[in-house]
Amino acid sequence: MRGDSGLVVIEYGDYECPYCAKTDRLLAELPIRRVFRHFPVPSKHPRARALALAAEAASLQGRFWEMHDSLFGDQGHLDDPHLWERARSLGLDLERFEADRRSDAAEERVTRDFRSGVRAGVMSTPTLFVDGEAFPGVPERDLLERLRGR
C-alpha cells in the first residue's frame, strides 16, 4: 500500500500493458491509497510474468514501488539485461535479486495475486476496485473526479 489517506484503490495490472501504465500515471496524481496486484496475461504480454516476479524480487529488498515505477516508466526496455540495469540503479543486491525473482516466494505471490483477481471477476487489465466495485479499463473522468474527492 502506498499513500496515507484517501480512498483505497486496488489495481490489477501487468507491467507490459500500456493501458496499465497510463492508469498508473493517472492514479499517481490522486490523493488516494494504492494497492497493486499482479495480473499477468502471458499470451498478450510474454514478459508480463517475468516482470511481476522482478517487482516481487525488488520487494524482498524493500524496493517494490521503486521497481514498479521504473517498469511502468519505460515499457520499451523489459528484457533481462534491462532488469539488471534497473536493479543496479535502485541499489539492489543483484545476486540476491536474480535468485529472488526465480524463488518460490515470488512465484507464489504473483500466482496468489492472479487468483485473487480471477475470484473477483477480473478478465482484463487494468481493472480497478474502489469500495468493492470493479472498474475495468483506464479510469474515466467520473471515477477520477470521485477519487479526487470532488
Binding site: K44, F114, V118, R119, A120, V122, M123
Partner: protein
C-alpha cells in the same frame, strides 16, 4: 440458450487436429464448452489465455474445457499455437454455427457464436449455462468455479 437440467444436444465437431469429437466423448467427466466469437479477435485472446492460466485449477476439479467457435480446424491450430493453449478447440464450421444454434448461443447478426459457457455433467446433462450480455464482456473464470461449488449444483 440451453438451460440446466436439459440433456446436451448431440454433436460431432473436429478439433484443431482434425479429429472428431462427439458428445459421447465428453461423458464420464465434467466439461465446459467455451463458446466464443472468433479466433484471433482481441477479446477472445484475453478470455482463452486467462482460462489457460487456470487450466491446472480446472483439472484439479476434474473439469475439461473445450473452446468452440465457427473457425476451421486449421485456424484453430494456428490460434492454439499462438496462445500456447492446451485446451482443445472445436470447429463449428460446417454447417456453420450448427452446434452453437443447437445450444441456443448463435448470434445471427454477427454470424458467430455468442460468448457463452455451458457446463455438461458426466451424464451428458447440462448442469449450468451462462451467456454474456455483450460480445465485449468476457465471462469471468470465477463464474465457472462458482458453478462447480456443490451448493450451486
Amino acid at each position: 440458450m440451453i438451460e440446466a437440467g436439459t440433456p446436451a444436444p448431440d454433436f460431432k465437431l473436429r478439433n484443431q487436429d482434425g479429429e472428431e469429437i462427439t458428445l459421447e466423448d465428453l461423458k464420464g467427466r465434467t466439461t465446459v464448452l467455451v463458446f466464443y466469437p472468433l479466433d484471433f479477435s482481441p477479446v477472445c485472446t484475453d478470455q482463452l489465455s486467462i482460462y489457460q492460466e487456470l487450466i491446472q485449477d480446472f483439472e484439479a476439479r476434474g473439469v475439461q474445457l473445450y473452446g468452440v467457435s465457427v473457425d476451421s480446424s486449421f485456424c484453430h491450430k494456428a490460434f492454439q499455437e499462438k496462445l500456447n493453449l492446451t485446451m482443445p478447440l472445436l470447429a463449428d464450421f460446417e454447417p456453420k454455427g450448427e452446434v452453437a444454434k443447437r445450444f441456443g448461443v448463435y448470434n445471427d447478426e454477427y454470424g458467430t457464436a455468442q460468448r457463452a459457457l455451458v457446463m455438461i455433467g458426466p451424464d451428458g446433462v447440462v448442469k449450468w449455462s451462462y451467456c454474456s450480455p455483450s460480445a465485449l464482456e468476457i465471462p469471468g473464470a470465477n463464474l465457472i468455479f462458482d458453478a462447480l461449488e456443490p451448493s450451486a449444483a
